[in-house]
């Protein structure tokens, strides 16, 4: 009902589009099989309650949570470069990576606590151990990982407690990859269509993105004589990220649309360009300082753009009932024969 009045001069105050769709005009996909009337736009039409979303959208602040995803990846992969540099005699690379890991994980913890509705209760995360909650597992991971990165960085900078520093560096490099990839599970373990449906590939996207971010930091902050491993890590990481992301979008079907729309579209195009360009520049830069630093900045920015793009695409998919209803309806109809 539109609340309109029918007068001698016609309908007054009509508000088009306010009627709930009826059973007869809902245009469900099964009607395409030739029974009954044909909907005008078979693929686009679906029923919803006044276009309202089925899901409640995540209330997370983009800067906090997408920023956390980026910083967590940067820290985790930096710990790998730190351990590698430490073991293979590249002290400048090791120091930058250790400082980067400790700094990034500190900032990411700050972002996580800041995003809580009750920040003073952040320690409640550790009152249980609960493998069904990726956020709980992540909290325990960070509780173990963050002190290790700080110990590794402190030992390196101060030059004291070297054996303990080496042990912390090695231990951080074991936990680092988990810190970098569990964040994909954090997003996928929700009802948000564009996050959940990508659960197979998203950890690989985030792994690649973490590698490019850490390599980017090393390229930007380490004398170029020691950046050989970072350059190779950048190229391999970019290939993993871009390849896994393409595969993910192809396998997701219609719920990949939010990656190509709105704010996510620009961010993800920028991410692809910056990551591919940064990796290519890193590969050809050799020992020249300025191109390496430029490549590093591009890789860091590209990784951040990817995380923000994935974040915004998921939120958009939760806000549009189409991405909840249509895949479920198709699943039901496939199941019914």
């Amino acid at each position: 009902m539109t609340g309109s009045d029918v007068t001698r001069d016609g309908v007054q105050g009509a508000r088009p589009g306010r009627d709930a769709p009826t059973a007869a005009h809902a245009g469900r996909r099964r009607r395409r099989r030739g029974r009954g009337e044909q909907p005008m736009v078979p693929d686009a039409e679906f029923s919803s309650y006044y276009g309202k979303p089925v899901l409640n959208r995540p209330n997370w602040a983009a800067l906090d949570i997408a920023g956390y995803l980026w910083l967590g990846g940067l820290a985790g992969a930096s710990s790998l470069l730190a351990a590698g540099g430490h073991a293979r005699g590249r002290p400048a690379l090791a120091r930058t990576a250790k400082l980067g890991a400790a700094g990034a994980v500190s900032l990411s913890l700050g972002a996580l606590v800041h995003d809580l509705g009750r920040p003073s209760r952040f320690l409640n995360m550790l009152r249980v151990f609960k493998p069904t909650s990726p956020m709980n597992v992540g909290s325990w991971l960070l509780a173990g990982y963050a002190p290790l990165t700080m110990a590794a960085a402190a030992a390196d900078v101060s030059g004291r407690f070297r054996p303990a520093g080496s042990a912390a560096t090695a231990a951080a490099s074991v936990l680092g990859p988990a810190v970098a990839t569990y964040t994909a599970v954090l997003l996928s373990d929700t009802a948000v269509p564009s996050w959940h449906e990508g659960y197979r590939e998203l950890p690989f996207v985030f792994a690649g993105s973490a590698a490019t971010a850490a390599a980017g930091l090393a390229l930007a902050g380490v004398p170029s004589a020691q950046t050989g491993p970072a350059r190779r890590t950048a190229v391999l990481g970019a290939a993993l990220e871009l390849g896994a992301f393409r595969l993910m979008k192809r396998r997701m079907g219609m719920v990949s649309e939010p990656f190509e729309q709105g704010r996510a579209r620009g961010l993800l195009h920028a991410a692809e360009t910056l990551t591919a360009g940064g990796a290519a520049l890193a590969a050809v830069a050799g020992r020249r300082r300025a191109p390496a630093a430029l490549a590093g900045a591009a890789l860091l920015t590209g990784s951040a753009a990817l995380r923000f793009g994935v974040f915004h695409a998921g939120v958009a998919s939760a806000e549009d009932p189409r991405y909840t209803v249509v895949p479920q309806r198709e699943r039901l109809e496939d199941g019914a024969g």
């Binding site: 009627d19 197979r200 391999l236």
Partner: protein, 323 residues
Amino acid sequence: MTEKSAGAARTGGRAKHAYRLSGPEPDVAAAAGHHDPPPRVGFFTDTSVCIGCKACEVACKEWNAVPEDGLLLTGMSYDNTQGLGADTWRHVAFIEQRGPFGGREPGAGHEDVDVFAAARGLGAPPSSPGPDGRTELRWLMASDVCKHCTHAACLDVCPTGSLFRTEFGTVVVQEDICNGCGYCVPACPYGVIDQREGDGRAWKCTLCYDRLGVGMEPACAKACPTDSIQFGPLEELRERAASRVARLHAAGVTDARLYGESPDDGVGGDGAFFLLLDEPEVYGLPPDPVVTTRDLPSMWRHAAMAAASLAALAVAGFARRPR
């Protein structure tokens, strides 16, 4: 990560039942670690007798002291509540449909109705137009609520253990534990739970846990004047619902269907299920919800493989001799 280890963590290893992430679960309270629990209770909301009075919304707000949830006129029929959230634990949906209901639906508009022609059409198949080919208005009303899923994603993903399974098989937030991480909000496949503005914590229907504890029925069911909201042991409600659907089908209301009653669905069956007169999505409900944690073991496996790939990638980066 296995489902078994997840269960052991939840129950402290005491319970005999394994904790499952999906599929039928006949004794959900025992699986959560309750010893000798009372029968699982829930709601059966029969929307075919809902009159849209919103007594349930009011009773819920009054009993649970739920704050005001926004005063605005939406133009969405008589629904200015819009949907479930932190400050709305019962929501009455209003759907106005114009369609060929075949004289079976009395509808709202009675002007120029030829009652004799309409009476002749009563035996006609429900979906055929009236005798003069006209369509009619029908009004669907439905009171939505938290489904208290058998496999509740909000509970599974809660990192603090604030959300828990009660001895009655319902799902409740402990507001003195919740730290407002907001993870339950996007985890819910029905869009039920949300964070309260200015408070930060997550809130939703408790199925009146306080009332259940002293043998009273929840406030909404108590207030419902047509028994559209029925409260009771889930097994009994399922039987009652099945016979109600059979009666409606026999009376020619072939659109009547149950939603959320099957233990074989994607969430292992709802503790609060519904009798609907149209597709679930028309009411704003997901047609085939699946608890996201069903795929969690696979997610952890993929993340582990990705972590190994990342480590391998870094090793490859260092593979050459230092220059």
